[in-house]
Structures are given as C-alpha cells and as structure tokens.
Symmetry: C2
Amino acid sequence: MNSKTVPNTATGQKASSAHRSYEEELREAGIRITKPRKVILKILTQASDHPDAMEIFRRAVKVDASIALATVYRTMKMLEDLGAVHRHSFEGGPARFENADAEHHDHLIDLDTGDVIEFHSERIEQLQQQIADELGYDIEHHRLELYGRKRKK
Amino acid sequence: MNSKTVPNTATGQKASSAHRSYEEELREAGIRITKPRKVILKILTQASDHPDAMEIFRRAVKVDASIALATVYRTMKMLEDLGAVHRHSFEGGPARFENADAEHHDHLIDLDTGDVIEFHSERIEQLQQQIADELGYDIEHHRLELYGRKRKK
DNA sequence: CTTCCAGTTGCAAACGATTTGCATTTGCAT
DNA sequence: ATGCAAATGCAAATCGTTTGCAACTGGAAG
Ligand SMILES: [Mn+2]
Ligand SMILES: [Mn+2]
Ligand SMILES: [Zn+2]
Ligand SMILES: [Zn+2]
C-alpha cells in the first residue's frame, strides 16, 4: 500500500523547460557550456532509463562523432559533484546515472532483463532513520536495492 | 601416526563460528584443501571485520609469504560460489567479504572511519518483501546500506 | 609408501571501468 | 575580435579483478 513506481520524466524530444535545466545549473555554477556538454545534457534530459557512461557515449556519438568517452566520464563526474545527477553502482556493473531532481526513490533490478524499477517506501525511510538514530549516526545517504525476477505465474 | 580423521576440536583458539567449518564445507563439496586455502580459511574464520581481498592477502602473507594475490581472489570466488562467504561492494570501493553463516543483516558504513556496523530490521525486511510482491517480483537478494557519520552533538 | 594426474598454484599479462597527462582547441569575458 | 583559463581528444595510466600457462601438489589408487 505504500510502494509505488515513480513515473519518469518526459518522453519524446522535449528539449528543455520543465524543471531547472542542466544548462541553467552549469551557468549558475560558472561552468562552461561546451558543445560536447550540450549533447550529453540533452541525452540525460531525454533519458528515461538509467544509462551507464558507455551508453551515454553511444548516444552522444550519434549526434557528434567527435565526442570522446573521457569527456562523458568527466561530464558525469562534474554533474555528480554539482548534484545534478545521481550515480548508482548496481551489483558490480558499471556506474549508471539518472537525473537528480526526481523524488528520492530506491530500485528493484530485474536480474533477467537488467531493467530498473523504481519504488519508494516512506515507512522504510523512517525505519532507516530510526535505526541510524539508535546507533548514534547521521545518515548522509543510503542505498536500497532489491534484486529479483518476475514472479513466475 | 595418523589415525583416521582426528576430530578437529577447538585448538584452544577462539573458534568464533559454532557452525560447520570452512574445511568441512570444502571437503563436502569435493574441493581440495590446499596449503594456501588453509591459510585463507583460517584468516576468514578469525576475522571479525569485513576485509577486502588485499587485506586478506596481507594477513595471509604474514603466515605464508609465497601466497599470491590471485589465489586469494580465486579462493574468495570459490567460497562465494559455495555460499560460504558473502561479497559486499560498498560505495565504489573493492569488494569486502564476510562469513556467510551469520544471520542476515544489513550495514551502516561510517564515512569517516570506514567502520562497518551491522544492524537488522525485521520490519524493513517485511516491507521489502511486500513491495516486491506488489511489483510482481520474487526477490533473490537485496542490499541496504546506510552511509553516515557519528552524530556530532 | 609410491605413483599419478586433475586440480591448484604463482606469475605475469589481460581485463573492464574509469581516470589522468598533455598538447591542442574553444567558450566567453573583456 | 582577442586572450587565456577551461575543456577537449587521445593515449597512456590506474585500480580491482580475472585469466593463460607452465610448474606444482593433494589425496585417491595401487
Ligand atoms: Mn532511479
Ligand atoms: Mn556484515
Ligand atoms: Zn530510499
Ligand atoms: Zn536486509
């Protein structure tokens, strides 16, 4: 009763607008808006999944063949430091990213397909908080991942 | 001078696990008990922390300088496949291991010291189960990690 | 107690993901 | 338009981990 999938952002090619755009954030932070960054930011804005660096690179190369993988890594690091994206390290694999302005949520990873399903449980969040309190800790962040497969029948 | 199977009663050491020993498990699985494995297994049996491969290697080399890091990795993989140890990948860092026969628990990682504190919440476990149910999934395993620092105050 | 060989080892080279050094561009403030 | 720090592409380097291979056992059979 208290879990729900979080609807994802825009589908289609809704370039900018919506919430505060990445470019706006960079500008505010005094970071240059370069051509490769524009391409990457657009890809991230349009992404409805949780792509890894290589996947972002593949999509970027289709738009501008001269973009380097290193630039994707550098840009993702920069966005993470800015707090504009979140980095997830699911089960050993490469880091995957997602826009940071969605509401907090946790993930269920489909072991067969690799699909990532988002969910949120306020009750779990509270319990985590309570546990940290009891242990005398302030939680900075946490990670809750469920790994499973579609229920057979 | 070798009688059949001398019962391996505790050698006066603190045998922290009151469960089936690693060597017993290997034997049952038909896996050879070699000199380097004995060293590693003893280290794991005595460990009360969550050491990574390099740390296990360091401890092993003190006992037998000829042990190779590759052997540590191979042995840990084998133990994981056997289900004798659990592998954790906390926040980007190298994989850390722990004996698998402790009760299930989750971890709080101290961001300042790297210390790992164990905790368990049956209520959270239930909620996870409930969420997976609602999403139509069977959970194979999960991962709940809290990252924080000792409460200043 | 020997023999025997598949399992195991040490070593180095290979790996995949990510980072970094550096010479060359480029954004953008002046 | 100009100047220069910031950013880029490329290659080489790092890090944790895995793997190929020849040499070396564990332990079952004799
Ligand atoms: Mn997500
Ligand atoms: Mn533990
Ligand atoms: Zn959460
Ligand atoms: Zn748990």
